[in-house]
């Protein structure tokens, strides 16, 4: 192989790729979450089930401020129609596409075209698409839209430094979203007790496994006797489950390592330390302890560690072009380079 010259990756573009991947991963997982929430609905308690979605995304304040009230229809609209809600699917996709516009020279034409067409589809979702059985079909189409993106990316993107940042963003977001998927179980209502409760609980766990695309894989390697901690184990730290935070963290580590070894990017030391901490948190805390002290708090902690990891990656590679990193920029990435360029000329 001949030596290729290093064209240099702009820090802004690296950050753009990182966030484009995050936004798209977020879209897919939001569709999964909405789908599973629907299966948690029980007659008379729709609102509780749907408000759980608001809670696990920490959107309570945002939801009320945008003039919505706590009922099922409003929650669905908040996430599927409300472009003004930054956590909605249309808003995330808008952000992904805006990033993509700045990244066009680094993307394949096929990636761009699919994203463009998918964006148009999502921006045309109507209230009718949220009704009855249409909702599940809609979620499937959204999920498949992102999967098509992921597949095209996998098959067409050039594996230079840019790709590593795309992957870093994707895995961080995926790890985060899986913790939220698990969390939703603890907002779900259960019958008071006895056989009815046991069956309902099993149904809910199965729904979560399905939403995380892990149902059959889990069955294959789980014990005959169903135990909730096995599901938690599978979703959080099965090293072969593509959506488990453990697998994601291992990939992140390997990518950071490659960036250092193959591209001479040695600034990622702090990020690698954060990876180490995350891996310890995922592996070294006993499940029984987690379940006893509260899964919700533990998941919160994983999310915080992931945010800190994203922050460390930002400080190492993206910050050179923008002098002052803000705390918010670690939670919500740039949807556009608008911070750096106000519209002065047309």
């Amino acid at each position: 192989m001949t030596h290729m010259r290093d064209p240099g990756l702009l820090a802004r573009d690296a950050e753009g790729l990182f966030w484009m991947a995050r936004y798209l991963e977020r879209v897919e997982n939001m569709a999964r979450l909405i789908d599973v929430t629907q299966s948690f609905e029980s007659p008379g308690f729709e609102t509780e089930a749907w408000f759980g979605l608001i809670r696990i995304n920490a959107d309570e304040k945002n939801f009320l401020e945008r003039g919505f009230s706590a009922d099922a229809t409003h929650v669905k609209r908040f996430y599927l129609l409300d472009k003004g809600n930054s956590t909605s699917i249309p808003a995330s996709l808008e952000d992904a596409r805006t990033n993509a516009r700045t990244l066009r020279p680094l993307m394949s034409t096929e990636m761009w075209k699919q994203l463009n067409v998918f964006h148009r589809f999502v921006s045309r979702i109507t209230p009718e698409d949220l009704e009855g059985d249409a909702l599940s079909r809609l979620c499937t189409r959204i999920k498949e839209g992102v999967q098509a993106h992921t597949g095209i990316t996998q098959g067409t993107i050039y594996r230079d430094q840019g790709w590593y940042f795309y992957e870093l963003g994707r895995y961080i977001e995926r790890a985060d979203q899986t913790t939220r998927m698990l969390d939703i179980k603890f907002t779900a209502l259960l019958p008071r007790g006895g056989e009815e409760k046991r069956v309902a609980e099993l149904t809910q766990w199965n729904a979560i496994l399905r939403a995380a695309a892990g149902y059959h894989a889990f069955k294959r390697q789980a014990r005959a006797q169903f135990a909730p901690e096995d599901v938690v184990q599978f979703l959080l730290r099965d090293p072969s489950n593509p959506r488990s935070p453990l697998l994601c963290v291992r990939r992140i580590e390997s990518h950071l390592d490659d960036l250092r070894r193959h591209f001479g990017l040695s600034r990622g030391a702090e990020a690698l330390e954060r990876v180490e901490m995350l891996r310890e948190l995922l592996l070294e805390v006993k499940l029984s302890h987690i379940l006893a002290t509260g899964l919700h708090d533990y998941l919160d902690l994983v999310q915080i560690y992931l945010q800190e990891l994203a922050g460390a990656i930002g400080r190492a590679f993206f910050r050179d072009w923008r002098p002052e990193p803000t705390p918010e920029s670690q939670l919500q990435g740039p949807s556009s380079p608008s911070q750096s360029q106000t519209q002065v000329s047309a």
Binding site: P7, G8, K113, P337, T342, V344
Partner: protein, 496 residues
Amino acid sequence: MSDIFQHLWPEYDPGRFFCELTTPRADAGPVPRWLAERLQGIGLEALRARASAAETDLIDLGVTFTVYSDATAIDRILPFDCIPRVLTAPEWDLLERACAQRVKALNLFLGDIYGKGHVVKDGIIPGELVYGNANYRPEMKDFPVPHGTYVHVCGIDIIRDEAGDFRVLEDNARTPSGVSYVIENRHLMLRTFPDLMSGIKLKPVDDYGRRLRAAMAEVAPGDNADPQVVLLSPGIYNSAYFEHVFLAREMGVPLVVGADLTVENDRVFMRTISGLKPVHTIYRRLNDDFLDPEVFRPDSMLGVPGLIRAWKAGNVAIANAVGTGVADDKAVYAYMPRIIKYYLDEEPLIQNVETHICREPEGLKYTLENLDKLVTKPVGESGGYGITIGPRASKEELEKVRETISADPDNWISQPMIGLSVGPTLAEEGIGPRHLDLRPFIVTGKESWVLPGGLSRVAMKRGSLIVNSSQGGGSKDTWVLAEDFSKDDPTKGDTP
């Protein structure tokens, strides 16, 4: 119109205008007939279906420009007409030479007015038109540029009159846009109308990116064998952003915004994931005013503080150079034939449209006396804004123009109304004649290279003469025939 077209398209009537397809041209050989027959073979309905599929393709691919009006921004595609415009080999030979000639004169003119100013001292052009011009940049005075090239990328707007003669309508020497459509239109034609093109040898348009990058490397400072070239864009809100992306991709260079660049010790760097990396040539698609807040508009957030300092220190090349706007000004345009003659001792290979300069008493008098026959244009505007077409204006409109021009004659020129040539275009009524122009693109590093063809812009409204994209114009693929059919014509006496 020859019999064959009357037979195929009985409804098609270009009237008194030169038609780019049906007016007989010996050097076009059988191509116009083939085209008409093939279009006829496809049929109107299938043609419309394919044209609409082609436009969907453009939307899916985001081949769009942005129109700003009343604070809203809308992504639009440039309407695409699937019936190509055909230029013959001898026509192109003339166009190519004329464009190179014009760019050579423009560069010599710029080198002169930012140097010793002979052209003014020798009385070829009034000094106030040059030095009093809003686009004259005193910062450029006595600052020579590599190879004397100021206008690295030039777009020259050329029209064809009723007699079929080409005329230059306007020079665009700042940051001309549209070249991406030339190449995208060709790709689109190859995808959606391969049967129209089959067996017709055309000059290719794919070489633009490579040529542009080579020119950018040629003007880079020092003798760096592999200089870092970047494309500087105002960002995604610019109406030509798609083109910036396109060109960065075609050249294979980073697309940067001002915030990606920084100047240290009079050297320009870009901010990468591994720190600062030197930049040697900047192909900028940003107006002069916005380039460097230290020198020009202090409120510009789009530029790079210190850029001009680095440039003047000889550490970076900027293309196009600062201050080229003075050369493509509509008032200076009127002097271009004399400027060409002055520097090159040649007649212009393609003439200007006759132009009356309202700052000159006789020009003003003539203009005001013939307002109803003339096209009046403000000199400082682009994009077709502020133009009044006398023969089509109402009495009230003409009175208003008279007042505006009388109040500020220096700002106006007028030209006779030219019957722009037409091309058959897919329209509401079927295949109808629509007016069009041509913008060839010329890339200059050490030498000039002209992209075969150029952008054919077409007024999609029946009878309209305004082809600008901001005013609803569309575009066509422009075919330059590689084969010179006049050589096959036995009446010309040429033998192979």
